[in-house]
């Protein structure tokens, strides 16, 4: 159960970061967000 909650939180943050990427007007901040998304998605998918 706790793992499902954890994955839910990771998915929620991933979506918020993607949303912020599309609002962001600085390319380098978008690039930083990209690097944040990668491990989050890996966790959501239970790959790493």
């Amino acid at each position: 159960m706790i793992m499902l909650v954890y994955r839910g939180i990771a998915l929620f943050i991933s979506l918020v970061v993607v949303h912020c990427m599309f609002q962001e007007e600085e390319f380098w901040k978008q690039a930083s967000a990209t690097m944040v998304i990668i491990p989050l998605v890996m966790r959501v998918l239970l790959i790493k």
Partner: protein, 379 residues
């Protein structure tokens, strides 16, 4: 440093997301490849079963792991060899694989579990720079590959770690991540987290199969005092002393360490306390595990050659004799030879519990010819 000023737009966001997906695809494939089991080729006479046959609580989970059993023609005792408790200690599981691929049991029964913590083989320890695989080039040109895993259970299967791990049933307190360490989980809990259930399953196997003598094979950093050592429970201390003396006489020194009574959760303590088995844990010296090491790669795992350890040895800071290297052939030969010596001594203590295993290479053969000479070809 001047940063290029590029405007962020929806198009750049889509471009960067595409790059992220590509990175995820490549790295994801790489991580998932470590979930493929290593290929082993059991010698004739071994029967393959699964650990869940002894405890259903790990059935259909990634923790379930193969157990190989070979019974000799003559009745005798039962011996268990456990490799892969810590998959970042390769001489332990390579020694188990060597027994699995070569042993011809004449008397008694031999049980081999080469990959005890199967889930710990499916990932690396973060921030250590460890290789994902170690490889052996066989004389026929084929390659045998083994995963180089982590000390602990994959957090994908057991998460989150508590702040403090309270060992059951002793109440001993350890760092939270130790909850994923199989060798802190014994005697295990049938309804616990997955590492505790693996530990419980191994205890069930020892109890139900009436194992007389059991080995848990490890490696440790050369600057750690319990290295090149035999750790024995009270029940196996006499046998350990006999084996250590015999090995010393043959120029293969091992420290004999009694299992501390108040250090809980370890195989050499809990196996002995909770079953009738004579429990033995053995350690060899592996520089890739140490904090003094330099470049960390497959070559270091295989050769143990490291200039910083050479310097540390000259300063007298190590607990193993270290000249230029510490190859895996030497480390594995120590485990294999020590096990064979224990079997010989077991026969002296009790004829009815004795186990005779043939076709195992001797110490000098393994060192001279290398591991690759004794692994079977998969081609």
């Amino acid at each position: 440093m001047h940063k290029m000023n590029i405007k962020g737009t929806r198009k750049t966001a889509i471009f960067l997301l595409t790059v992220a997906l590509l990175v995820m695809y490549v790295t994801g494939r790489n991580f998932l490849a470590m979930r493929q089991p290593d290929v082993v080729i059991p010698a004739d006479g071994f029967e393959k079963r699964m650990l869940s046959d002894w405890f259903q609580g790990i059935h259909n989970t990634p923790a379930d792991t193969p157990v190989f059993i070979q019974e000799g023609q003559e009745p005798g005792g039962t011996v268990l060899i456990l490799g892969g408790t810590h998959p970042n200690e390769p001489a332990g599981y390579i020694a188990a694989v060597l027994f699995l691929e070569r042993a011809q049991v004449q008397k008694g029964r031999l049980i081999v579990i080469p990959f005890a913590n199967n889930t710990a083989f499916t990932h690396n320890s973060p921030q250590e720079g460890y290789p994902q695989y170690i490889r052996f080039l066989l004389p026929d040109g084929s390659v045998r590959t083994f995963r180089y895993g982590s000390r602990d259970t994959n957090p994908v299967y057991q998460w989150p770690d508590p702040d403090i791990y309270v060992h059951e049933p002793s109440g001993q307190r350890l760092a939270g991540s130790e909850m994923r360490n199989l060798n802190r989980a014994y005697p295990g809990q049938p309804h616990g987290v997955i590492t505790q259930r693996i530990a419980f399953a191994i205890l069930e196997l020892i109890r139900k199969e009436d194992v007389d003598l059991a080995f848990d094979l490890h490696e440790a950093s050369p600057e750690y005092p319990v290295v090149n050592a035999i750790v024995a429970h009270e029940k196996s201390l006499e046998l350990g002393a006999m084996a250590a003396m015999d090995l010393e006489g043959r120029g293969i020194p091992f420290r004999l360490e009694p299992s501390p009574r108040n250090l809980r959760g370890l195989s050499h303590r809990e196996w002995g306390d909770h079953t009738d088995v004579m429990a033995i844990l053995m350690e060899t010296g592996n520089p890739i595990q140490g904090r003094l090491r330099g470049r960390t790669n497959e070559a270091l795992a295989l050769t143990g050659k490291d200039k910083f350890y050479q310097k540390a040895a000259k300063l007298g800071s190590l607990f193993i004799p270290y000249e230029d290297d510490q190859p895996i052939a030497l480390r594995t030969a120590r485990h294999v030879t020590a096990i064979m010596t224990f079997l010989e001594m077991l026969g002296f203590i009790s004829e009815e519990k004795s186990v005779i295993v043939n076709n195992i290479p001797d110490y000098n053969d393994i060192i001279d010819k290398g591991i690759e000479a004794f692994l079977l070809s998969i081609s």
